[in-house]
Symmetry: C2
Subunit: 381 residues, 2 copies
């Protein structure tokens, strides 16, 4: 049989053909009116997805670069921050904070557990000196979604700011920055933005920009004041990844013509169908409050989780993600993110059913497919 | 007439067709054996171009990101550094150093002026507490080349290390890192590496790695210890710009089959032909010691430098670069970097002759073309 490769990972994600092919065009120079016009169109499109009137700044980096930018541009040495660590990416906020000599107060949750806005309120009352709260919209290591809207309500009552990692979540789940009063929102290109990895995005509320004025942590490449000054001149401080910016323009056209609400609804349907399939197979989700980005599934007792991922990837070329760190071998993650269609969920579940059969797991063959198909059919539009 | 666009800038540069088209292939996942194999092949190819047995580390960033990485990974707060500032990019070393609270001792040269190894030796004798010296192989704002081999001889006699910005120079001019005893060498993808902007590269000597062990400047995204640990696991700490890495593999195949010596010789010939054309037109170079990367030309008295660049770009679509900062309107820069052929130099000079005619500059028509062509013909192989 032909070896066809299926990307089912939470970044990189599958891309529309017209976004792929535009990368093969000759590179234009970035200090030209042509590129400036294209760049500003991208910034406008990003503002639309971020749900903000503020400018969205662009870095050539992975999402982690924009996370670092969020932190180094608003804080000063010795500042205290509160990190909601609910998985590998929440944990990263703490790592960055400590690397820059901040006092990191960390709420460490078991992976997949929820954290309510009331719990956040209690934490902030106990730690009134906290300058910024760092959380995730979608924790990519667990598939859990967090109540960013609720957190923002709590934080808006204080002098602190709320910084949200929307790297995998933005575009797949609602997070209208201005409406919800999120102060700093970070994302990256290889998720629902429909382009390859290499660009990261960040926007700040006026309240957060005020902190930028007094921030004393060192920065250069990720300096947002420089980016702001250059954006006013219709450019970026450093040579950007031009081909990716060109791809982002093309992909944003598609997102705008579909509409952000429909993009989010699309991801909701795929997520619901995937969960229905997983549950029909007798498998259990890791996240108490699963989001639209990916479905993390507990490896059932008696099954070898590493063999499961290896079979999915090696035999069926279905590139789901395994578990990270403490959950290596204990969970697997099926992403429903980016340019996927409904039938990609059927493909994912079929590969999973075949793999489970290979591993002698006992289940009703086709039950996962049937359950997912029912949800897709019901929601098809 | 068809509007054909000619990229004559010192980054981005023209790319081979097979490097452009490979960017249109579907994105593969970066945590797979397939990507690891490809990534390690890229690292090997980069080591070849760097002329080093040490690993070359890759960041998703512009070249400035790798410059920042060079500085934050080897130094500690309050350390004294010596910067050879011979233009906009030399100046940047000082900006980064000050952003991170270092004591920056700066040698400020008039743009285009040379700096000898004897002068460096005198500076180091006067400032024995200097921990690192920062210079450029090719100063992109002026086209000047610097005696990195000589600097390295001087610095090797001290406890300090030599950090070289090879962003535009590496691949176009000799800089065999191990042979010359350069301690830190930085480069970027959109120059002679034949791919779009978005990746930056850095390698360190064992002497520099020792300083990494004691460095106390804060870093996270650009942390080389993390990169080293991940490279041992055949991967990168953060999601890389996958499509650019795939392009770099393709471009390195071309570089390896041509041979690094031939790549450098190619750039030398184009540079010599360009300079011959410029001189035949009665124009003057900015750099005392011009390199192979670009030719910076003084705008002759009575001519409007901004109009010259605007006509070249707007009427003839020949995207040369203007002057930067104090030299805006006073120089223009013709790059001969990346995937250019001999006839691209003829094109550049023809566009320049037509532009000079438009601006009523008095010269013998065709004299620039004839002079360049003679050099190209003589060296053709």
């Amino acid at each position: 049989m032909f070896k066809k490769y299926y990307l089912l990972s939470p970044g990189p994600t599958p891309l529309p053909e017209e976004v792929l092919s535009i990368a093969a065009q000759p590179i234009i120079h970035h200090r030209t009116p042509e590129f400036s016009a294209l760049f500003l169109e991208v910034v406008e499109g990003l503002k639309y997805v971020f749900g903000t009137k503020e400018d969205v700044h662009l870095f050539t980096s992975s999402g982690t670069g924009a996370m670092e930018a969020a932190l180094v541009n608003i804080l000063s040495p010795g500042d205290k921050i509160l990190v909601i660590n609910a998985g590998k990416f929440g944990e990263r906020w703490g790592h960055i904070g400590r690397a820059y000599g901040l006092q990191v107060q960390e709420v460490v949750l078991d992976w997949g557990r929820d954290f309510t806005k009331e719990q956040l309120q209690a934490e902030l009352r106990a730690n009134p000196e906290v300058k910024a709260i760092f959380c995730s919209l979608s924790e990519t290591s667990t598939g859990a979604a967090y109540d960013v809207q609720g957190y923002a309500q709590v934080v808006a009552q204080t002098a602190a700011i709320l910084v949200v990692d929307g790297i995998s979540g933005l575009g797949a789940m609602p997070c209208p920055m201005d409406e919800w009063r999120v102060d700093v929102l970070v994302s990256a290109s290889q998720k629902s933005f429909l382009i390859p990895p290499g660009l990261s995005y960040i926007a700040l509320s006026p309240k957060a920009w005020k902190m930028v004025e007094t921030s004393k942590l060192p920065k250069f490449y990720f300096d947002l004041k420089k980016s702001k000054k250059n954006l006013a001149d219709r450019t970026t401080p450093w040579t950007p990844a031009i081909s990716l910016v060109v791809q982002q323009k093309k992909a944003l056209e598609r997102i705008k013509s579909m509409g952000l609400e429909n993009l989010i609804e699309h991801h909701r349907i795929l997520a619901e169908a995937t969960r229905a399939g997983i549950k029909a197979l007798g498998l259990e989700l890791l996240a108490k409050r699963p989001g639209n980005v990916l479905t993390a599934v507990k490896v059932p007792a008696g099954l070898d989780g590493k063999a499961l991922v290896k079979t999915m990837q090696g035999k069926y070329l279905a590139y789901i993600a395994g578990g990270q760190d403490p959950y290596k071998g204990k969970i697997f993650r099926i992403a429903h993110l980016g340019y996927m269609g409904g039938f990609d969920i059927i493909t994912a579940l079929s590969a999973l059913e075949m793999t489970l059969s290979d591993l002698d797991y006992s289940f009703e063959k086709g039950s996962g497919l049937r359950a997912a198909q029912a949800i897709l059919k019901e929601n098809w539009k």
